[in-house]
Amino acid sequence: MSEAKEGMDVGYVAHLARIDLTEEETALFQGQLDQVLHYVEQLDELDVGDVEPTAHAIPVYNVLRKDEVGQSLDHADVIANAPAATDGEVRVPKIIDQ
């Protein structure tokens, strides 16, 4: 990943992941994550030009299911797990940014 070379902006990533970090935490994690990335960077020493990229560690493909309808959850159970509900729908704070 090019990220390691450029370094990682922990504050920016925390914002994308909606995690609130204090300044101290940001500095702490910045140092720790930089170390992790530098460690992984060692892989750059290898020439992998001839290696086909893999999406997965194990060579398994086409795990498919038939297009058949199965059991869904009971509506009352679904709503019990929701933060709030109105007329069977899940109610959330108004989404302004569309």
Partner: protein, 475 residues
Amino acid sequence: MKYEATIGLETHIMQKTASKMFCACKYEYGAAPNTHVCPVCLGYPGALPVMNEKAIELCCKAGLLLGCEINPCSKWDRKNYFYPDMAKNYQITQADEPLCLGGELEVDVDGEMKTFTLERIHQEENAAKNTHVAGASLVDYNRAGTALMEIVSNPCMHSSADALAYLVALKQIMEYGGISDCNPEKGQIRSDVNVSVRPVGQEELGSKVEIKNMNSFAFIQQAIEYEIDRQTDLLEAGGAVVQETRGFDSDRGETFSQRTKENAHDYRYFPEPDLMPVKISAEQVEQWRSELPELPAQRRERYVKELSLPEYDAGVLTADKIISDYFDEIIMKADHPKLVSNLVMGKGMSWMNEIGQAEYLSIMTPAVTGEVVGLVAKKVISNNAMNELVDILVERKGGDPKAIVEEKGMAQVSNDSALEGWADEAIAANPKPVEEYKAGNTASINFLMGQVMKASRGKANPGAVMQVLKQKLDG
């Protein structure tokens, strides 16, 4: 300076599957909210997605219908974003290895054939439906996780007419291919539209504006026209176009800037660890290719070449697959393609507009319509009587065509004795036209013919009337 517009479309199409993309919940439009949901499509921790093989097949068949190359090995990625329409905070999609690559669509734009090229088609999952109410938003997850594919065109169109023709053709092919019902009201076909404008001759494209998530073809057309004008005016005044996402206000027919959050487009794609890649063999591709149905263009050609229908009829009949399938079924029973075409395009379509297509087709089934056409073909009833018969059948919501013809006395009169009586009366009562005809003005016979038709109250067979009159006058 002259300017030109460049337009690209990203069209989302909901596939015709029974269950969702990665779980066995039912796909059903209009069900009670949150009744077709499960741990997978609600994003509960630990729930694992499993691919729907039918969706993969439909996506690849869509690709084959559009001349795409099927990717021998495609994979899945997570597109991360925070929005309540995706409970797990990411959408499973395909970033760098989609199922279908390339492709093209040949389209008739106002009489000119144009080829629009595609970049790709990828498979993904649909988001939930949000409704915004006072102080809150409501979410129905029934649609979340349903099979959705995205057809991405190259920036190869230059006018709203191009875009409209492309969309109409795309929709038609998807319907014919059984890929999707493409009902815009049900959100089964929606497009994001990218528009940019540049001075003619400039190599690089201008800054593009994206107008998101539109389902109405008419609005798409309006939005494109508005954007081209707006951007051209900006450039002409020496200004610059800001690259941004804009919404379309259908009441005002204008686009408006949508303030997007900072970094809103950083989706941090990464490979989906819960799903294995899909490998598709050349044999599988050939198998699917052999199963592809007849496309609208092929059907039009068959109608013209094999059924000898005029180009116009062929175009009208094939515009909607339901109508075209219906037409095919009737001619299998009744033959006489031109008569069937006249009925379907005339009375048929006007009734469909009035009472709805489904209602009309349930009354005027292929069997009933075939019978009506048979009566005309055998000259039992005239063309006018055919229209009247269809009206009666629709108004009564069905019935036996033959019984109605008898009840209403609609059968044509071809037997000579009745015709001769009327012909004699017409000749006796109208000496002037008779004289004119005998003097060589052959058109005068039409007046006499009209009198006979009137006397028969429209039931006389016009061909037979003409024959009887001629015999009497010439003989």
